[in-house]
Structures are given as C-alpha cells and as structure tokens.
C-alpha cells in the first residue's frame, strides 16, 4: 500500500495524459470494408438468434420475402397482386437492410476491437527465451513454450518473453511498448513495485533472472485481447437486464400484432354489414401479413437491439485506448455505478515524491549532529524520500564516513512504520512515524522530549509528513517531508461529489497532516494512520451499506482489498498478486486514472440508457404512421396526424426511418454520449429531454420528410 509507506516511489508517466504516446498505435484502416463483409456473414441464423430483436426481424424478412413471391400465400388478397407484390418487395428489401445495418454496427465495433487487439498482440511477438533448467543449464526455447513457474534468463537488449517477476539481478526495462512511456524503468527483485515485468518489453541493460507467472495466452494482455476482440465477451449484468427488457417488449408487441388480423376481421365483418363490402375489403387488405410484419418491426426496439452489442464493445475499446486492461466488461460497467472511491494520498492525491525540506531539532543538539543522525538513518533508504534526506543532510554537513558493509539496513514495514540502520558498534538509528519512534525510544528506556509535539504539529499543519529520528533511546528531531497536492484535483472531487460519489483518502500519515491534505484536496473523508487492514475494513463497511467501492493499489498487501472492492485497479508496476486480485490493470501505473475510469463506466451506462430511451420513444411516431393506414377504412383517418400520402407510403416511410436510424446512431454508439459530471437527477432530466422528447419528435419529422420524397401517391 503506497501511502502507508513513507517511502514508496511510484513510477508515474510524466506530462499531460492526452499528450502521452499510447503505443502501439491502433490501425483502423480497412475496418469499414471488413465490417461490410461481416454484415452479410452475420445474417447466418445461428448468429442472429443471439440477438432476440434482430432475430424477429430476420424471421419477418423471410416471411415478407415469401409473400413477395406469392402475395396470395396466406390467403387471397383484396388489393391488386402487382401493387401488393411491389409493397411486399419494398418491405422485404428495407427489412433486409435493417438487418444489415444492425450487423454493420456490431461488425464495426468488433472491427475496432480487433484492430485494438492486433495492436496489443504486436507486443506479443514470439521470441527465443533462455529457459533455466533444474540443473542450472540454459536451453533456448520459443516463448510460447514457457509455462508458469519456469525461470528464464534475459540478457541486455533482448525482449522479456513472458509476464513474470524478477528473482535475481537489476536492470532497466523499456516498457514503452505497453505504456508509451519512453523513460526506462528499473527492475529488481524483492520489491513490491519494481519486480514485476511484462512480456513484450525490452531489457536495456544488465541481466535478469525471471520467474514466469502466467502460461501462454493467460497473461493480462492476452486476456484483454480476448476481451476487446469479443471472443470471450460475456454479457454484463446491465446488458442481461436490457436483453430481458427488449425480449419482453418484443413479446408484447408480437402478441399485439398477432391478434390484430383477428380484430381487423371482426371490424371488417361489422363494416360490411353497416357500409359496404368494398370498405371491408379495404380494411382486410390493410391488415395483410406484410403490413403486420412492418407494424411489428416498427414497434419492437430495433434501434437499441441493433446497437446494443456495439455499445458494449465500444465501451471496452475506450478503456483499452486509455491504456487500461480490464479483465471483464462487468468491471467497466461497475465503474459507472461506483458510490465510493478510496484513494491513496501518496501518488494519487499528492505527487508522491516527498522531499525533505527541513530538520527540526527537539533536543539541545546541533544542526550538524541532527543532520548526521538523519543521514545515518537513511543511508540504506534508496527511495526518493531517503535520497532527499541524505541530500539535505550532506548539505548541512551531516555526511558520515561509514563502511556500509559493517552496518545493517532495517527496511520499512507497514507494521513497524519505521526504517533505519544498525551500526557495527551496536547503535540503533531509526526514522519513522512519530508514534512509532516514541514507542521505540520508550522500549529502550528513553524519554520523549516535550518539544517533539509542537514540532510534529507544526509540520502537520503545513500539510507535510513529520518523521521522527532517534539514536537508541534519544529522539533527536523531526524531518519535515514536504508533499504537494496535485493541481486540479479539488475540481475533480467536486465533480465526483456532484455525481454522488464519495471520496475517501487513506494515508499512513497522522491525523493533522491527513486533515490538512484532505481539506486542501477537497476529499469527503479521510482515514489517517491507516494500515493495510484498514483499507479492506473501509471497503467492507461501505459495501455493507449497499455501496459499490472502487480503489487502486499496487502492493501485495493491497491484494485482498483489491479483490474485495467492486472495482480494483492495480498498477502495472505493482506486484503480480495485486494484478491478479484486481479486475483492471493500468499500464501507465497512474492512480488518478481511477477517476477517469469512473467517467468511462458512467458514459457507457448513459449511452446505453440514452439509446434505449430514444429507441422506445421512436415507437410513438411509427405507431401513428402505420396504425391509421391499417384501420383507415374503419374511419380512424383522423389519427393520421402526419398527413401521410397513402398507406403504402406511410409503411415504407416508417420502415425506412427505422432502418436508417441504426447507421445514423453508429457514431454515437461507438463514441458514447457526452458525459457531464452532474447529479443522477440532472442527468436523467437531461437525457429524457434530449433522447426521450427528441426520440418522440425526430421520427415524426423524419417520417414526414421521407413520405414527401417517396414516389407513392
């Protein structure tokens, strides 16, 4: 957990995210041509049957084709057979294009996903790996033959053959193939953030011994490839719910339309006795099988039925373009439903590279003595904080001539919350959280000086991290580690608040520092002096209130919390355990990306909701176009509020609109509805206004316009 450690360097790509090079580039060339071919392939009933709305259209197209060949197939028609054949043929062609357009939408989305997958796969070129056998000899094998647990030797200048963990050696790795970040990253064993390597990256210097952590085809990038390609795409809970809704609507309209001919027959009998047989015949002609199928297709939600899978695939594609690997579509959707976001202070809210700014003595010691103790306490600490403490101490004349071989470095741990050095003469020098150092000194029989608390409070009130430093049983002073809140975060947290998302900052710092940073950054709540266990308990407590929680993490001790969270984003620089537990991996290792992922998830859900609203709202106009034409003979001509020219023109115009609206909405489905950070209520009002009211009004205008263009009289 990065913030519980006062000394965790985070490898974060520099510069604005938009300007960062995301490699490899995705090649979208020829995507529409391939999609066109796929539109015909997808007419296979075994594929169409997976989309209930479009399968009904498919069956309808077959039936209208049969009545085009033989208009009298389902009974003698009252209209002129040639005219009826033209009408039936037109309906068949339009329904066929409706199917093609829906298939095209899906094929374009899949094509973009495949192109994305190809670019990801480009990082996966097979290489020759130097596998270390049990007897220590080295065998050259193809990287595809490597299995989990195998050990491989990687030399400078060669590609890392598979995902793994460094178990021996230190070397700098070029990860630009997956992160787009050109600066090489140092990899070494035994550390949480620097021991994990990804297949397809290149070792620039030295030599590494790597333990392979995944079988071929099971790595993170392989999983993402399968996901964006749609090969292993399973429906998300929201998609399943929407599929049920669409099936229910289709079922209802199927029953309604199937019973219309019987009603029409009854009315026709009634009309023939009251008026004339000709009027009754007109009514029966209007209720022909082809017209009934037109009515059914116009009423069922074909727009959303045709675009549903494209919206889902495009959502995954957007996440991939953001350099985030999602292991399931469910995780992307869960981002959109998140209520609580748990953020580390270090690296996420603040820049993370805290630097020593001042040494504050708390006893009667000279500044040089204090600097010497600080230098000794940090001599084995190679983190940016440790290095900055040494640099400041050297500036103040605190450098000591020490043979490192005679001393022992004490590593920081989240439990002890301190690190330091044991010298050959038996002296124990420690630096760490003030409470931990107080405890250490007391355990050695020492006294805590009175001046420590004012110094500690002073640093905390400045938003800095105070570290106490001691030698054996004597506390010498406080190190002021200066930390800077990232600019623009307050506005982003305000946006999240407006969206109803609560932000909680977790930090290993004391309460005063935590409250100062929390206030400055504008988070809703904070937990100070947090241990790794606190993270999981906060998640459980939020989830027990029915909330969905998102968090980021990189260390092995974050793994249980990442697994517990509804959305767990692991940093690519993190440990294998963290990446296995999370449902997303950020290749840029940028913790603030969690905020953007929530926006992508919400955009996916809003797009699906908006297009569903639009699709269902369209029914009103299509209903008023077709129904009056069927029952015109029954004297309901007044319902023809659009003043459409004729029955044929009305049906064809409604169906043409129904077909054309699908390709017209493909760009919106792929790009997503523009996301605004406003409350759920405001969002609902806005979408009802644009896609609900717009969905009612737009087809009235479009159908009337098409009716005017059509050559029917």
């Amino acid at each position: 957990m990065s913030n519980s450690s006062p000394s965790r360097p985070l490898h974060v790509p520099q510069g604005p995210r938009e300007s960062r090079r995301h490699t490899p580039k995705t090649n979208f060339k020829g995507i529409y041509r391939r999609a066109l071919g796929q539109s015909f392939v997808k007419l296979d009933p075994r594929i169409t049957v997976r989309n209930p709305v479009m399968f009904v259209v498919w069956v309808g197209t077959i039936v209208t084709f049969l009545v085009t060949v033989n208009p009298n197939l389902f009974g003698d028609i009252q209209a002129d057979p040639t005219e009826q054949r033209v009408l039936n043929g037109s309906i068949t062609v339009i329904l066929f294009f409706t199917l093609l357009f829906a298939n095209f939408a899906e094929a374009v989305a899949e094509g973009r996903g495949k192109a994305q997958a190809d670019s990801l796969r480009a990082t996966r070129s097979d290489t020759i790996a130097h596998k270390v056998l049990a007897d220590g000899t080295i065998e050259e094998v193809n990287s595809t033959q490597l299995r989990r647990g195998d050990q491989v030797q990687v030399l400078a200048g060669s590609m890392i053959p598979a995902d793994g963990e460094v178990i021996q050696g230190i070397g700098s790795v070029d990860e630009s193939a997956i992160t787009g970040e050109s600066a090489p990253v140092l990899k070494q064993p035994g550390t949480d953030i620097a021991s994990s390597v990804t297949g397809g990256t290149k070792l620039l210097s030295d030599e590494l011994l790597i333990r392979v952590t995944s079988d071929p085809g099971q790595g993170f990038i392989d999983r993402m490839i399968a996901l964006v390609e749609g090969a292993k795409r399973t429906k998300t809970p929201n998609e399943i719910a929407l599929t049920v809704l669409l099936a229910v609507l289709t079922q209802v309209f199927l029953i309604v339309v199937a019973t219309v001919p019987a009603i029409a027959q009854f009315i026709a009998n009634f009309i023939s006795t009251l008026f004339s047989q000709a009027a009754a015949n007109n009514l029966q002609a209007g209720a022909s099988v082809a017209v009934m199928i037109s009515l059914l297709v116009a009423l069922i939600p074909t727009t959303i039925g045709g675009l549903l899978s494209a919206i889902g695939i495009a959502g995954m594609d957007r996440v991939a373009q953001f350099n985030v690997i999602a292991t399931s579509g469910r995780a992307v959707e869960a981002c959109g439903d998140v209520n609580t976001m748990i953020l580390d202070k270090t690296g996420t809210i603040t820049f993370g590279n805290r630097l020593a700014d001042e040494f504050i003595p708390v006893t009667d010691v000279s500044s040089q003595t204090l600097a010497q103790v600080c230098w000794l306490a940090s001599v084995f600490d190679d983190t940016p904080e440790g290095r900055s403490i040494r640099a400041l101490a050297e500036k103040l004349g605190g450098a000591v001539d020490l043979d490192l071989a005679t001393a022992e470095g004490i590593e920081f741990s989240a439990r002890t919350r301190m690190s330091g050095t044991n010298l050959a003469n038996g002296q124990e020098i420690r630096k760490g959280s003030v409470e931990a150092i107080k405890g250490f000194v007391r355990s050695r029989g020492g006294q805590v000086p009175d001046q420590i608390d004012p110094a500690y409070e002073r640093v905390s009130r400045l938003g800095g991290t105070p570290l106490a430093v001691c030698r054996d049983k004597d506390i010498y002073g406080i190190i002021y580690l200066k930390d800077i809140v990232k600019p623009g975060l307050r506005e982003r947290f305000d946006q999240l608040r407006r969206m109803g998302i609560r932000t909680i900052m977790l930090t290993g710092d004391n309460r005063i520092t935590a409250s100062v940073i929390a206030q400055e950054a504008g988070v809703d709540d904070f937990i100070a002096e947090a241990t790794p266990e606190d993270k999981i308990s906060v998640i459980r407590s939020e989830q027990s209130q029915g909330k969905l929680v998102a968090m980021t993490g990189d260390g092995t001790n974050d793994a249980p919390a990442l697994a517990q969270a509804n959305v767990g984003v692991a940093m690519n620089s993190g440990t294998q355990a963290a990446k296995e537990a999370a449902n997303m991996v950020d290749l840029d290792s940028d913790p603030t990306k969690l905020i953007d992922l929530v926006a992508i998830g919400k955009q996916l859900l809003i797009t699906r909701g908006a297009l569903t609203t639009f699709s269902i709202a369209n029914d009103v106009a299509k209903y008023f176009a077709i129904i009056p034409t069927i029952f015109a003979a029954a004297g309901i001509g007044a319902l023809n509020i659009m003043g459409l020219k004729s029955a044929e023109s009305a049906i064809i115009a409604a169906l043409i609109y129904n077909a054309l609206v699908i390709p017209a909405l493909i760009p919106l489905a792929l790009r997503g509805v523009q996301f605004r950070p406003v409350s759920a209520n405001q969002l609902l009002q806005r979408n009802i206004l644009i896609y609900g009211v717009g969905g009612v009004v737009a087809p009235f205008i479009a159908i009337k316009a098409i009716d005017l263009i059509l050559p029917f009289s």
Binding site: R50, V59, I255
Partner: protein, 80 residues
Amino acid sequence: MNLPSVLETLQDIWSLQRHRKLPVYLFLAIAFNLILAPLVLAATGNSFSRTQAWAVGLLLITTCALGIYLFFVMFIPEKF
C-alpha cells in the same frame, strides 16, 4: 435394404440430430403442421386453398415458436 442397415442409418440420423438441431426443429414444425393445416382449412371453410391453409398453419407455428423463443430469452438471457 436389410434391417441392420436401416438401424444403422437411423443411428446415424440420431447422432446427427444432436449436432444439427435446426433441421430437426423444421421437421417437427412441418410434421405438426400436418395436424394444424386441416384444422385451419376446416375453420375457414372454402375461403382458403389447401396450400394457403398449410402456409397459414406454418405461420401460426412460426409465431408460436417466436413467442416460446422470446420466453427463453427472458428466463435465460445470459445464453443470448
């Protein structure tokens, strides 16, 4: 054709139907239409020819099949 070869052919058909369900469903629909089409013809008097009655019967079966299919989608949507 002797009895063993007939049984062998039937066995082949049976094993094929496990893999190719659509022809089986179509066969069952047409077979069921042998019952339904005369009912349609009887109900409509002389207004329908035998072919039209057969077509209407098949249309009714298709509509019912679509209804059943949609119920399947509602109850096991994750399969679609």
